[in-house]
């Protein structure tokens, strides 16, 4: 039986993926939203003057970066409920995993960006009487944020793609939806092509959006 590529199946599959797509978007947006706050906190903690605070942030970042997300997902969804006796809904687990995982990488992005700002900026802020926190918030952070945009865009794309791993904990996202379709029609070639195209459309959208943000922020400044 010779393989025959059926482009029509690709086109038919795409609408069937929309349910999964919705979940993928929700988990990505939710995960990155919390991940950004987590990462900002951990990134700032990493440059704290308090050694214990630095150690805390460092342990978080290292343990997440040093283990596969697949292991983290299985651990949180199958392992943790055994220990605490509460089942976590797959979508909640998905958002937590993306948040915790992206947070570790975002922390390094934040740390790098904040440290790249000339120390004279903090000094000038302190010299007009701002507290360390105020100078960070009003002076250093807005400048650092601009430098974070390109690497953040990169991380957003990575996290979006990483949501496909959540199929192993039964989240009916895009990838799993595709898999379920192939289980019925056995057209793995066309279906996964469709799945890939949908991911590509989303990642390209993110890249475009980040470019727009970057451009907008650079209008006023160097």
């Amino acid at each position: 039986m010779a393989f025959q590529f059926e482009p029509a199946i690709v086109l038919e599959t795409i609408p069937m993926l929309m349910r999964g797509l919705k979940l993928t978007v929700e988990i990505t947006v939710g995960g990155l939203f919390f991940g950004f706050f987590l990462g900002s906190g951990a990134g700032l903690m990493k440059i704290s003057r308090n050694g214990l605070v630095r150690l805390l942030a460092g342990s978080y970042i290292e343990s997440i970066r040093g283990t596969p997300m697949l292991v983290q997902a299985m651990f949180l969804y199958y392992g943790v409920p055994l220990a605490i006796g509460i089942r976590i809904a797959p979508i909640t687990a998905g958002i937590i995993i993306i948040a915790v995982n992206s947070g570790a990488y975002i922390a390094e992005i934040v740390r790098g960006a904040v440290q790249s700002i000339n120390p004279g900026q903090m000094e000038a802020g302190r010299s007009i009487g701002l507290t360390h926190t105020q100078a960070m918030f009003f002076v250093v952070w807005p400048q650092a944020l601009k430098r974070m945009i390109p690497p953040l865009g990169n991380q957003f794309i990575i996290s979006l793609k990483d949501t496909s791993l959540l199929m192993v904990i039964g989240v009916g996202e895009l990838m799993r939806t595709g898999q379920e379709i192939t289980a019925v029609n056995f057209r793995a070639f066309e279906v996964y092509m469709a799945v890939g195209l949908v991911y590509l459309a989303m990642t390209m959208t993110i890249a475009k959006l980040m470019k727009m943000v970057e451009k907008r922020l650079s209008v006023s400044q160097r």
């Binding site: 004279g120 000038a124 009487g129 701002l130 006023s220 400044q221």
Partner: protein, 242 residues
């Protein structure tokens, strides 16, 4: 206004200040000169505790800056600072650079701060640049904005850390002119500078620092015309030869 006693500062093994005593009266203009690496900027940065003194005492406007109960942020509003590299906030317009302190630190109402900011920009001759971003300004203009930013807190003293050293020669004059005007208005100023002409004309007192200590101090006429210390003589010979 400022009383520094036996100030020492070490960076690791390197002792930068080896016991500095300096007293600045209200309304006085004190210029600190000396070779690079002599510790003169460090003295200035200790006064508002951007640099932590290793030992000694510093009293600013009656407040011991090392004391636990002293609010250092409050001291910093009384002792404004102007930096060699300007350190304007590049993401804010010129006016916002000037009003940030009054609004966030002094809790001034926004329109009041704007009025104050505009009047200070007027004073340094840059009212027309209020809505520009710092990178659209020349070095001299940036430094004048930085002076307006320091003035916005209505400080009792302004610390100038080599304010003209990063400027192109033709832009030095406009900054010195603003500083001269401040001096005439009675502002207390401590100026670390390489501008001997400014020190000679404007300073009430000149301090020569080398090797972490005050080697000689006195009225500019005396210090420049009749230097007693051999290091100072060598230094003056070197800077005037240039």
């Amino acid at each position: 206004m400022i009383h520094i006693r036996s100030l020492h500062k070490r960076f690791g093994d390197l002792e930068v200040l080896k016991g500095v005593d300096l007293h600045v009266k209200a309304g006085e203009v004190v210029c600190i000169i000396g070779p690079s690496g002599s510790g003169k900027s460090t003295v200035l940065r200790c006064i508002n505790r951007l640099e932590e003194p290793s030992s000694g005492s510093i009293i600013v406007d009656g407040h011991d800056i090392m004391a636990r109960q002293t609010n250092i942020n409050m001291i910093r509003t009384e002792a404004g600072m102007v930096f060699q590299q300007f350190n304007l906030f590049p993401h804010m317009k010129v006016l916002a650079n000037v009003t940030l302190g009054p609004i966030k630190v002094r809790k001034m109402a926004k329109d009041e701060a704007v009025a104050l900011g505009l009047s200070l920009l007027q004073k340094v001759g840059l009212a027309n640049k209020a809505n520009n971003y710092p990178q659209q300004l020349s070095g001299g203009q940036k430094q004048r904005v930085a002076i307006a930013r320091a003035l916005a807190l209505q400080p009792k003293v302004i610390l100038f850390d080599e304010p003209t050293s990063a400027l192109d020669p033709e832009l030095v004059g406009e900054v010195l002119a603003v500083m001269r005007q401040l001096a005439q208005e009675g502002m207390t100023m401590v100026v670390v500078t390489h501008e001997m002409g400014f020190a000679r004309d404007v300073a009430d007192r000149v301090i020569f620092i080398d090797d972490g200590k005050i080697q000689e101090e006195g009225p500019p006429r005396e210090l420049f015309n009749n230097p007693k210390n051999s290091r100072l003589r060598n230094f003056l010979r070197a800077v005037t030869a240039a």
